[in-house]
Symmetry: C3
Subunit: 348 residues, 3 copies
């Protein structure tokens, strides 16, 4: 595919600075781009690379108005680049039908233009909607639903009764609907609490490789529209994650916790059970959340505190041994002063 | 299924307060319960919901003796509820036999009433005992044993020589018996230490989705009877976990460490190698265990300290910047006092 | 297999102390070894076990020159033991060919002496080189390459375009080449950034069970020769890990970070995105790396500081509540002294 720069500018709603007739045949990063390719600079600190790159055109912010190379100037260079990437790389979907080496219950209902690869298993009474793609080794438990245009990559497992929305992407090894982790002691023995709820994943959700989302004990674990979950994330039974939230790799969310909308949990964060995390909250990496968090704030640390406070605390950590020595020193000097002034123990 | 309340009370060893003739046809949480359903309240702080719920009956502790609705009063409401849940949801097991789309070595020995789904692979000389269920995509390496009534969910892998006890549940994506992580330097190169041991999982163990339990270098990694392991947990080579212990999601236990009986490791805890953790120890979430822990205590923190101490330390963290400022202030004031008293450097 | 002790000593480049004619028929740990077996002691603190073990011979360091049992004395007892283990346990490779229950695109190119188990899927235009072993449930996406002598254990997934070197071992559930976690906000919505790069894994790499290595957004995620990665590790898009580095279980490395050569990241370490970690760096368990790290040093903590400093900081943590009390006490005493000396507020 080839596009003129002015066509791309129009496509992303930007303006051309320089020669709009330049032909673009590909996209690449600023360091790897070659003649004929377009790249982008989102962070102003990389603007010096404008003169170094071999790209034929660069997408920049509106603050840049000219360079010795053709530009697309736009409000959000990364968003514009993403749209152009999608334009260049999106392949038209070609349904492959149902491979004869898949095992499919006779009671499964299919939409149209499905792709089912070999070694897929689909249990009784499932509904697989239009243009769904199930890669090799996917196992769909009975009574599950997979909405239109969703893609389940190789070796994904849905336990029975899982409800998957439209345009959902589940990456390899994702496990949806395994039993929540619930036991009650009967003497010394751990008695399993039957996990009879389910998992509901709404539209436009993406779940990264080998992440796990457990079914609720009762009711449902719910991942709302537009949530994006990275790899190796644990979502326990009864959790609800609000719309458009971002859950980064290796986060763990314990049972029945409600995460608000548009929340960001950075990598390796842990959140204990039965909490409420407000809308638009951000939690820094490796933090431990042990209490409800009000909306619209940034938190970091174990246990979490407001991020601004955390920064001050974190810079104090390395000073602790010195502070301790100073404290001992001061105590000694104070004793000396008290002696000098004949201040006695009971007076202190 | 329908049961009278008095029948359920007898089943769980509780007593009825109110109308024991009420018919119960289902179970639900306190918030979702409808007429005809039974629910429970374990935590006294939710007792106010007694009047709000639409449930036809509620299981409560013996301390509650009456309400405007029929009750089952019992020592442990959650245990009683669990028993009733199990009663309502347990389905009689219907063996499905061995699907012709499974690949099974001729040397495998089977017990009776087996269920093997399509795309299961069972290697040479395995023994699969009575009523075992192997879901699609399960791979059982040669010379493995799976005990009576055990269930391996989709895409579980057992490496060769794995020994699985009775009534064991392995959730999807669990990997048992992969090589332990052992190398020795030969110059700059990491030379692999052959991992020639195995994994033994005793009866009544449950392992959560995508958890990994490595084979020992020599000897065995052992998970004792009744241990419950959550999702995405790492158990390294040569670890032993004692009876009835609970290992919460994303915990990592390094090589050769021995965990006692009835231990609880909360989510995201890390334990280094070659340690001994005593019986009945509890470790709080995200803690880092770098030393042996004596039995019967609660620990938290990185590195762990007794939990009571940790609480005090954790509340001090946010005060650190203020403490540092105070310290500087005090030093200055002290210098002033010393000047006033003509205390000289060498006297301090 | 049986070997005389003197043969084994020669094989590992060590010297015999005692009877070199002893016949060795197996290997075991110091505690489990029986007559006829050889064991080793690497750590001098276990030398007392020299007299307790039932082993017929022990591999020790050159500092030990005699015992009441035959010895192999060598520079590196663990390396010598590893070589002998490999000698006793290595089985000659017997190719099994391609099982008819595997699904293989007609355009796949095979080397010789391949082993492909049932329920393997290999997409279009892949190249599978000599002596590769693909276990059940492995899925190889189109346009991938797997180099000579590599082994993919059950249920491994390679997304399209993955390049795997020679003598690579991927353990069960490993996912190579899933989409990196990249979105750009378009209003409130998270728009997916197409991940059009790939993953390159060089020779002699081993990746532990259920670890995930994402494809780059553009360009490649690269795991260099000899890197060893443990279980449940997350390697994000665009990361590069230098030769011979060791990444322990549950580590997470965020996007575009470059890890040097011969680095060790201990268990559960998190590294944020776009960093550079120097050669020969070691990072202690559970640490959080938020800045570039210079080479040849050890770091620990969240955020990381030099390990030596960390040890002092960590021992100060438990003293914090006491330090705080002391500080309050000192403030009070100082106020008293100031009163006595009639030092007024403004003088302080």
């Amino acid at each position: 595919m080839k596009k003129k720069l002015k066509e791309l500018a129009e496509f992303v709603g930007g303006t051309v600075a320089g020669d709009g007739e330049v032909e673009i045949s590909g996209v690449a990063s600023i360091d790897d781009a070659e003649t004929g390719q377009i790249t982008f600079i989102a962070n102003p600190k990389y603007l010096r690379k404008l003169t170094e790159t071999r790209a034929s055109a660069i997408i920049v912010s509106n603050k840049v108005t000219a360079a010795d190379r053709p530009l697309i100037c736009t409000v959000d260079p990364q968003l514009a680049f993403t749209k152009i990437l999608t334009l260049f790389f999106a392949k038209p979907y070609q349904p492959k039908g149902i491979d004869p080496h898949a095992w499919i219950s006779p009671s499964v209902q299919f939409g149209k233009d499905i792709t089912i690869y070999p070694y897929v298993y689909i249990g009784d009474r499932c509904r697989i909607e239009d243009r769904v793609i199930l890669y090799p080794g996917v196992c769909v438990g009975e009574d599950s639903v997979i909405g239109e245009d969703s893609v389940l990559h190789p070796n994904v497992t849905l336990y029975s009764g899982s409800i998957i929305g439209k345009k959902v992407i589940l990456h390899s090894g994702v496990v949806i609907g395994a039993d929540g982790f619930g036991y009650v002691k009967d003497g010394k023995k751990n008695v399993k609490i039957p996990q009879v709820g389910k998992v509901i994943i709404e539209d436009d959700v993406e779940v990264g490789a080998n992440s796990t989302i457990d079914r609720a004990a009762l009711g449902a674990t719910i991942i709302r529209r537009g949530v994006k979950i990275d790899n190796l994330v644990q979502v326990a039974h009864g959790v609800e994650i609000g719309e458009d939230s971002i859950i980064v790799a290796q986060v763990g969310i314990a049972g029945s916790t409600k995460i608000g909308k548009n929340v960001i949990l950075a990598g390796q964060v842990g959140v204990i059970d039965h909490l409420e995390i407000g809308d638009n909250v951000m939690v820094g990496p490796q933090s431990g959340v042990g209490q409800n968090l009000p909306p619209n704030q940034i938190f970091t640390g174990t246990p979490v505190i407001p991020h601004r406070d955390y920064l001050r605390v974190a810079t104090t950590f390395p000073k602790l041994p010195e502070m301790r020595r100073t404290l001992t020193d001061i105590e000694n000097r104070m004793r000396k002063i008290e002696e000098r002034l004949s201040i006695k123990e009971k007076e202190k």
